[in-house]
Structure formats: structure tokens, C-alpha cells
Subunit: 347 residues, 4 copies
Amino acid sequence: MNFASDNVYGVDPRIMQAMVDANTRLTDVSYCHDEGAKAVEQRLSQIFGKDVKAFLVMNGTGANSLSLSTIAPPHGGIFCHESSHINTDECNCPELFTGGAKLIPLPGEGGKIAPATVANKLNYFGHGEHAPKPTAISLSNATELGRVYSPDDIAALTAVVRPKGMKLHMDGARFANALVSIGCTPAELTWKVGIDVLSFGGTKNGGMMLEAVVFFDAALAEDFLYRRKRAGQLQSKGRFLSAQMLAYLADDVWLANAKRANRLASELGKGISASNHMRLSQPVEANEVFAVLPKASFDAVQAKGAFFYDWPIDGLNEDEIHCRFVTSWATPEEHVKDFIALLRSHA
Amino acid sequence: MNFASDNVYGVDPRIMQAMVDANTRLTDVSYCHDEGAKAVEQRLSQIFGKDVKAFLVMNGTGANSLSLSTIAPPHGGIFCHESSHINTDECNCPELFTGGAKLIPLPGEGGKIAPATVANKLNYFGHGEHAPKPTAISLSNATELGRVYSPDDIAALTAVVRPKGMKLHMDGARFANALVSIGCTPAELTWKVGIDVLSFGGTKNGGMMLEAVVFFDAALAEDFLYRRKRAGQLQSKGRFLSAQMLAYLADDVWLANAKRANRLASELGKGISASNHMRLSQPVEANEVFAVLPKASFDAVQAKGAFFYDWPIDGLNEDEIHCRFVTSWATPEEHVKDFIALLRSHA
Amino acid sequence: MNFASDNVYGVDPRIMQAMVDANTRLTDVSYCHDEGAKAVEQRLSQIFGKDVKAFLVMNGTGANSLSLSTIAPPHGGIFCHESSHINTDECNCPELFTGGAKLIPLPGEGGKIAPATVANKLNYFGHGEHAPKPTAISLSNATELGRVYSPDDIAALTAVVRPKGMKLHMDGARFANALVSIGCTPAELTWKVGIDVLSFGGTKNGGMMLEAVVFFDAALAEDFLYRRKRAGQLQSKGRFLSAQMLAYLADDVWLANAKRANRLASELGKGISASNHMRLSQPVEANEVFAVLPKASFDAVQAKGAFFYDWPIDGLNEDEIHCRFVTSWATPEEHVKDFIALLRSHA
Amino acid sequence: MNFASDNVYGVDPRIMQAMVDANTRLTDVSYCHDEGAKAVEQRLSQIFGKDVKAFLVMNGTGANSLSLSTIAPPHGGIFCHESSHINTDECNCPELFTGGAKLIPLPGEGGKIAPATVANKLNYFGHGEHAPKPTAISLSNATELGRVYSPDDIAALTAVVRPKGMKLHMDGARFANALVSIGCTPAELTWKVGIDVLSFGGTKNGGMMLEAVVFFDAALAEDFLYRRKRAGQLQSKGRFLSAQMLAYLADDVWLANAKRANRLASELGKGISASNHMRLSQPVEANEVFAVLPKASFDAVQAKGAFFYDWPIDGLNEDEIHCRFVTSWATPEEHVKDFIALLRSHA
């Protein structure tokens, strides 16, 4: 029973098969200029209902950091949630790829940034060149606390930042999970409400290294070929990236996988909240569950072979621990059931 | 009546004279390898009671950012106060000179970081390479809110971070003001309580461009000549830097100037707190005064020719404004008196 | 008939099978901390006859640029051949990952740097901090012109740079090709003659994304986990990297593949040099062939479906073109034969 | 007798007096937003016959590196002479401020780049994103070998690079020396022949820290206030920069000083070439003289108190040494005469 992360699971068999199939071609154009890469861009344009510029990259950290490099100059400031992956889990890669732009961490319930928080923070940037120039905001959807921004949520943020000339990035490492949670179209969750560039992630949802940077504002993509190469994010045998993405997007694999993961999280969340010795710290909206457990329970279930991470937050009692549980496209159904039973048995 | 900043005032005449005198030498060794630069290092070693390595640089932002580059690798994290100059007023120069190290902003009353805050934050850095490696902490003394760290304050922080292998930087843009406020020795405020590297600032206290990076841990100074040059912080006609510093340190000019500035701030603070329509937001400990004014008063006194900055903080009423007043070695005595009278007359 | 690059070919079936097999594990530890990653380090230690520190990364540009970041500070200089991949084909990634270290390009026959050239260049670095500090040298083996450094060649360079405190990097994107060309042991070609860090490449020789940074000087590996993450070179589902490397190193796949590629290059070279309208520009020592063709021949054979790159050099006649031909582990035998025949038929 | 560099001399008394005068103002607007800074921009606009954007910075390395940051992205390539100051004497500051752009060193007689050399080099940049994007060229005028580019020289380079979308920077650390050598107008030597941004240097010609970045293409200046601050190139007490520049440009001080320095160099050059044991290696066109001396002569005259640098070049005999002699606005006339006599007496 492993709820540590969605990336402890492997690759969707359909995606793996696509990689095997891609290998039957004796040769292919290298460096992501293969026909498959073009097909990816076309397919994503269909999905998003708009001609996008799409570039396959090596991983999510690369996708985010490269995206940010197109909307924040080195002297820029990037508003983000204080718990955002770019701020806490990418070890300064955003700073590296942007040339030193500053992430401006903001608080917010559930990993979400509120428009009023942004508006207030902007008041601190009125004295010219001493502070970084606020040029970008990055939203994680789903958030690092398993919550989702609705189209309205995003539109309200856009209304605050667009008049300041700021651009919007979405970290979509779990974009599919957010999308199926809301039930809107990809367009409605992105460019129609102001997103300029999206890290479209698939690795966590069944891929091997399956990430694309998707530009809704084509002007931002200028020189992106250079940026990708410079950042070491260019795969030489690019066919194995395009094959993954095409298989992921075919037959709604990406949506089905996300739905499954979200459903399992919902079940896990219900199981936890039904217990009287544990409490959810967040509503379950995507494929992550956050809960406060007695430390004794934590130790006991880990000793029984369940694996998941503690997730530090402030304000706990000494005998409590805050934990994250992630479900995935591949988490066995029975693991969820068994785990709920296990948790309950160690009150 | 100008209380906008200590740097709106000019250069102490004794320092200016030293520059004029330095110009009487037909030639001198360039690039800060002049005899004066060596004398500066010796003089600072005397003052700090320890053999230091000292390097003259162009300005305070350079001093801070270069200092940090010696104690934080590009993949490092630098704990600092959220209001610290390096975090809010150096437009990503620390990020630039360190190669992208991340400033980790911490809250704290009066611009001071509390040991418990650091200890708690360190709990969030236990999962390896995903977060930056916490390698440094930077303290501003005096703080950006005009408060001072005592030797005990610093020792308590050192006790938290040293066991983690972290190094300590002090931003001493107003070091003299802090020192004379406390009344201890320079050694007691720095290396004796764990400071590894100090930005020793003199520009605000009577210099023209009068800043040194002072290393108490000589190992950190390795390659600093290269670092200084690479960062564009090397003055070719270096004699004009060393002349300033030698004059600044001679005859306790630096201490006398700081005392005067602090005294004027204290008087201004008393004048404000004696009024019933204004309130100090911070105790006055160095040469800065922070107060909440009615917006109407702000407008009125500015219209009468007083100049100072609003200083955004959260939690004010709509008709209030938070302001900073800085006094300096050169602020005329009567300006303080007149300004207090002016403030009171516009309740 | 495709001689454009070794990376236009796919993945060795044994390596692909290993990836498929790795996918049968329901879960595995992520972020390259899997058991496979440890096995890779052990296996490489066996192969090199020394306890090495080895880290899997995403691609060759990443391997090189990260390697260099451990031996050159941002204010450092890295001696390299002017035609080296790091200098001409990595779009400033070495500059990015090192934080701005300078590549110092040197001339040299066959892409090889001569000891005397290095010794002479060092004479230009005697004036202190104005020039970058020369701290590193990078050698490509095989070189970008298909030539190889022997152990003696390397030892002679080490003798020049080691007394200056410089460290040695080897770009081994085609390390196996160099190794089997010389016929020595991996140890003899690396640490026994002074190499400190090696980019051990396997992508071109049958992998998908199959690159490791191998440290012979373990001290250089300190913080490398952070470096790798920060640079976006960390694969989340790391089992698919370790599986590749273990399959590559098993049963001497890596050596056999390289031998085959070298043999085909040798045959192609003989075919070309036997013609009287083409001439080799370099002896064929690994898996690349460089030759001068009449432009008319180039156009004719490309029109017939042969694909390879022109490779600009100075000093050609107007009707000549310099070309590169790369053979690989997967290049069909008959393509080489057919291509030779085609070339000859278009004199 | 000191011919080591123009920066071993001090500050022109008129410029020093202007600094003293600036100090009589009790307060002034800080951070280079003073009225003096605006006057500098206006004065430079007059001098260049065009509305320029001009920014005072701390030193020449800063001026060059910041200039380049506006015309070369981090993934860009900057063509420059292999002996250029940015390539050999700024310790990777251009790489730092540009975020890792690559300097592409080119050979060329007298430190000058020939159009054909640029055109040929561009042939090597035809394969897309693997190489840096060639976006800029930097010319030193006068060159590091004391030679000058004429307007025609520059126009010929512009004709090669402009169609490729490249921008042109001029390193004018000795701009005045080049200008008076040619006898054209400032406009004719810069924007009229294609220069987009100029490092307008005055430190070597009588200033203390007297450097401006001058944009002829105003669009490049966007965000430059942020760039200057971020790079640590912003002086807080900016009045002391503007005062220097205004005094430098008043009464043709800058031109008169340059003429004097050039004349002395010419005399020194004649004295050397009249000797039969020394030979000039470059025609004397500005304020630098380069000559090959017998090593014995070098040692003898240095022992007699003459100070100047050896200047390594290839191709000398073992008993020869190549040297640089710099004259300045302040070099005493008699020192030149005495030095010529001294040199001759030590054949």
C-alpha cells in the first residue's frame, strides 16, 4: 500500500506499448523535430480549441522552470503560493532557468491564492526598481494540497494581474485531475480565463517522462527551442517523448486515468473522515488526501507496510502528524479499501 | 526637511577631504590593490579584534549579494526576514550573485528573526534535494524597521543554525547605528556570537560609496578577488575607496556620526509618541522611526515641504498611513524640531 | 541510409526490454533513489575498478554541464577544444549550469587539445582576477571529429594542468567507442591518467536517455543530488533510467555495440578513401567519418535518399563540401555497403 | 614613470571639484534619479545629435556587461574580438549579467574584427538551437591594442550582422581617444553606422567612476532601471556620478584629455620606433603603444623605476617580450621624454 506519490507507480501499459512501437522505426528525426512532435502540437491544439505552441520536455520541474523563463525576466518577480511546487520542491530550478527571478510566496487556504492577497501584495511593489518587477503569477492546478482552481477562480486572479501587465502560468503537473474534478473543457480552464502558458503534465498520470510546455500566447514561444536546449531539457531521441504524449491523449487515456485517481482519493478521504481519530485538513478535490493523524497511528500503519509521507504544517498538537496520501491511475482498488481498514484499526 | 533616507544626504566633509587628498598622488596602484586597501584591512582587524579579510566594494547591494555568494551555493537557501533589504530592495541581485540561491523569507516582529521561527522552518527542509539546502541566514543589524539585534539575540540564532552547518551573514548597512545603540564592541556584535561575514556599510553614515565585505571566517574569502571582479564590484581607481574608509574609521567618525543620527531619531520618536494623533509602530532603537499617521496629516506635512516615505504594512485603517523617517549624521538639528512641530500642528 | 547521427537510431531491444520489465513492478522508489540506481553505482565501480559516485541524468548536455559545475566556479575558466560539443552544441547550457563559467576554446588537430597549447594558453592567465580563474579542462573522447585520446595523451595533459590545480572532465558521449578503439581498460582511460569526472554516455550507443555523471574524485560529488535536482536533470520515475543502464552494462552490450559502430565507420572510411573524388579529412578512429566531397556528389547522393550533414570547416574550395558520417550500433550493414557504392557512382 | 594603465592616474581636478561642489547640497534625490542624471541624458543627447537614453553606472565592466544583457538573451551568442576586454578582462561578468550568453571570440589584426571573419563565422550557426543564437556583436573602440575602428569599418560590420537581426555594442572605455583619433562626430562613430548601445567610458580619461550606458535604440532601454539595480550597478548617492559626467562633458574636457593622451602615445611610439632594438607591434592610433622589447631592456628599465606591463602574444623569440604602454590625460610630458631616453639607453 503505497500512497507516497503518484510517481511511485509505473507507466500506463498503453503508453509503454507506444514507446515499444516507436522503437520499430529504424530511424527517426532526432531532437524533438520528429513528425510525432508535430502531431502532438496538433492534438493539443484540438484539445484546447486553439492553435497552441507545444514543446515536449524532460520533466515537470523543467516544464515549470522553462515556462516561467518566458514570462519573467531575471529582474522579475513571480507571485506564487508559498506551498507551490516551484517554491518548495524544485530546488531553485525556477531561479536557475529564469536567471534569478524571484518567487514571491503568498499564503492562501488550500494552496490557492486569493485575488485580494495578490492585490494587497502589489501595493508593496510601488517604489520602482528596488523590488523585482512583478511580471508573472503561477498557479498550481490541482494545488499541492489537492485543491482545484475553477475557471472563475482563475478569471478573478487574471482580473487583478492582467491590468498590471502580468502573465499567468499554470503548473499542471496534475492538470488532468483538476480538469475532471471541475468537469469543464481544457479551454475553459486555461486560455479562456487568462492562462498564457501551461505546464501540461502527464508523468504522474501514467507517463514515463511526459511533460509539455503549452503556449496559448504564441509570442512567448519565440526562441523556446533555444531555451529548451539551453536548459538541458531537449531529448535527442525525441520520438519516445512524442509517442508517449500521443498515446496519453488518445482514447481519453489521460482523462480516464485522472478520473480513476480522483475517485480513489475521494474514497480514501471518505474513509478517513468517517473515522473519529483522524481529520481531513483539506476537502478532497483531486487525487490527494491530507489528514491529521495521531502519531501513534502513523507509526503503526507504516510499520504494517503502508507508505506515505508526513507533510509538515504549523499548528498541530504534539501527538499529531499531518500526512499526505496520493492516489494514482494505477493504485489498486483494494489497497485503498485495505488501507482505510488499517487506518481505522489503529486509532 | 528630508527624512526620506540617510542617503539623500551627502558625504562627510572629512571623508570628502580624504578623497581630495588621495587625488594628490600622481599615480597609485589600481583595482583595490593599493596600500590604502591593505591599511583598511589592518584597521578593520584592529577594530574587530581579529584578523579579518576585508574587501572594498561599490555599494551595499553588492556587499550583501557578494557576501551571500560565499555562504550559499546556487542550490542553497538563505533564511532572512521577509522585510530584509536583500529580500525586498535589491531587485534579485542576491539571486544573481549567488547564481540563483533562494531567499527564504521569515516573519518576525520589528524585522528581527526569532530563533523559534528558524527552528520551525528547518522542519520543512527534511526531505532532501527537492528543497534548497539551507546553508545560510542573513540578519540585518539594525533591521529595516530600525530595531537592533543584541549579541544575545544573535547567539541564540547561531545556536539554532550552526548545528545544521549554516553560516551567518550580517547586513550592516547601518552597523554603526546598531553598535552604538547597544554599546558593545564590534567583536561582541559579530564574530564572537557567530557572524561569519559582515557587510560593513558606511555610505549611509557619511560615505560616498563606502562599503566593505568583512570575513571573520577567512576560508570564505578564498577566490573573493575573483568574485568581486566578476560581479562588477571592483573599482579601478581603488584609492578613492580606501581613502573614504580610512577617514571614516579615523577618530571614531563612524561612531560619532551614528550616535548623532540615533539621537535625532530618538528625539523624533519622542515627539511623535507625545502626539495623540500619531503612534509609533516600532520602538526607536537606531536611526529610523516608524509611525502610523492620519493620511490627512501625511498629505498636509508633505505639502509643507517635509519629505519622507510611506511604508506599506498590513492591518491599517483606511484613513491611516504607515511612514518611515530616517535621520542621518547630517540631518540638521532644527529640522527635527521643526518637523515635530509641523507634525503636531496637523493633527 | 541515414548517417546523420547515432541518435537517429532507436533503442537497443535489450535495453527496451529492461524498461518494459521495470514497469512490471507495481511501485518503486522515485527520484533515482531506487535500488537500481544503487546497483548502477556498484556496477560502474566494478567496471572502473574503483569506488565511484555515479548519478543518472536526463541527457548528455545535462551530464556535461552538471559535471562542469562541480569543477568550475562561476568565476572559472574551462579549457576545451573549440569544436567541443560543450562549446558548439549545447547552447550555453554549460554556462547556465556553472553559473556563467567561461569556456576557453583552444585549437587542435582532430578535435584534440595538445599539451603545449594548454601550457601556452596558461601564460595568458597570470594577471589575477581580471581573467577567469582557470580551474578545469574538458576533453571529448571520442572527439567531435571522431578521434580518440589515448591514456598517454590524457596523462600528458594532466601533467600540464594538475600542477595548476585544475580538474579534468571527460565528455564521454562516445566513451565506449573511444574505449574499444584503444583497447585499454576503463580505468586506464580515466582516473588512472587523471580524469576527475566523466560524462558516461549511452544514449548514442543504444539507450533512450542513458547518461551518468561518474565521479572518480568523490569530494566533487558533494551536493550533487542538489545540483541534479536544481538543473531539472532528475527523473521522477528513476527506475527507467537505472533499468537502461543495467541492461547496457550487462553482457558487455555497451562494448559490443561500440565495436560494431566503429567497424562500420572503418569500412565506410575505407570506401571513401578508396575513391579518387573524395578524401577523408580525419583518420577514422571511432564511429565517425569526416570527408570532403564535391558539392555535386553531395547533392546527388542526398537526392537518392542518403542523409548526412555537411560539417563546416574553413579552407575548402568553392565546389567542395565537408561532411560527417556517423555509424551506430544499429546501422544496417548493407546500408554502409550501399552507401559506399552510391558515393562512388556519383563522382 | 608609470605607463601601466590610464587608471593608475587620479581624477581630473575639474571633475573632483564638481564632486566637492555637489556635496554642498544638503540633500539630493538618491539612486540616480537626481536632476543631474537628467541633465546628463540631455547633454549626451546633444553630443550625439539624437535623443538617447543614458544611465550612469559604477564601472566599465558593469557598463559593458549590462549593455550586453540588453542585446543578448541567455541563449545568445555575442561575437567579439578574442582580445576584447569583455572576453579577457572582465572575469565572466558579461556571462553573469547576461545570464550565461556566450562570447564568441574572433581573431583579427590589431584587435579589430573584419567583416569577412564575421560572415564566415556565421556559417557555423546554421543548425538551429544547438548553438547559441547569434544576436550581438561587440566592438571595442579604441581596441585593446590601441587601434581604432573608423565609421566605415563599423558600417561594413553592420552590413554583415544587421540582416541577421544582430545588434551592435561598442565598448567605449576609450571612446574619446578613438573619437579624437578619427576626428569625426560622436554620431558618425556610433548610431549613424549602426551602433545600438555604447559603453561611454570616462574613468580612464579623468573620472573617478564615470561610466554611462548610452542607448541609441530606446527600446533596448526598457527595464534598464531594473537591470542596473539588479546588477549592483546603482549608486545611492547618485549626484556624485552625475556631477562627474557633467564636468567631464563641459568645456570639452573629455576631448581635450583624450587628445593629450593620444599625443603622448604618439610621441612615445615615435621614440620607440626610432630605436633599433625595439619594434612597435601596432601602429599607434589612440593612447596605447605596443612594442616588442629585448627582455634585458625590459628588466633594466623596470629596475630604474619605469612601470608598465608585459602583454603576452604568441610568436616571439625567447629573448623578447611584448609590452603595453598607456598614456593618459595626466601623464607628465617629461615622463614620456625621460622614458624614451631610458628605453634607448638600455638597448
